[in-house]
Point group: C2
Chain length 153, copies 2
Amino acid sequence: MAKEHKDRKIVLASGVFDLLHLGHVKFLEEAKKTGGKNAELLVIIARDSTVEKTKGRKPIMSENQRRALVESLKVVDKAVLGFEDFDIQDVIAKIKPDVIALGHDQAEMERQVRKYVDEHNLNIRVVRIGKFEDDALDSSSKIRQRIMANFDG
Amino acid sequence: MAKEHKDRKIVLASGVFDLLHLGHVKFLEEAKKTGGKNAELLVIIARDSTVEKTKGRKPIMSENQRRALVESLKVVDKAVLGFEDFDIQDVIAKIKPDVIALGHDQAEMERQVRKYVDEHNLNIRVVRIGKFEDDALDSSSKIRQRIMANFDG
């Protein structure tokens, strides 16, 4: 069974994915690459309630919209809604990922994940994916700002 | 050659696809279905200049972003930028589609396409895809409105 598992590595990524843009897709593509050929990319979509707690405002798109849209991307094998109370222990136990990929804006989550993986001596690679700077609209907040600016003008 | 062509029907859809949402994906999925099994879905992305001319404002996302994002969807086989001066004759001559699928908000383009197909006695199905009303955020203008509302609140 261990061998079978090795044939197809599971890469786990997570995020809000509100106002989907090319930066999201590139992050997910780079994340999947870290699992090698035939990797399976599973994405956890942050719940509306979690986003409201951490960012102080609801996402523009509902969690169901965000999940379905992310799963409609070629690069994504499966997208699931996160736990109401995100707990890295539950996620690792349930999904058993080979790689956990974190985005440029997920420093705090990276810290938590690395701590947990180290403490439990788990065979999980933790990788940080860089930011993509090749286009002006590579973040949801920039897109919101552009919409606001256009409305005023 | 005609037989070979029949094996995989080409469905052509087009649009702006600014602020990608689930309504876009559902439209493209329904469009592809009209070509039967193994259909190939080709999507023409409206140029920034064309959008500015017809809507009086630039899209939020650039044409390159919109094209790349649409092509990253599972349902889409290929996405290309439109001609600066959209001309249905050029498009049909170049792509030779079996089906042209039009969205709920493309009444004028449907009229033009049907007229051209009838006048030239072409063997092209023209289909209109309905609107999807099952979620509140199924249009780019509603998403913009929600962003504005959140900003005020």
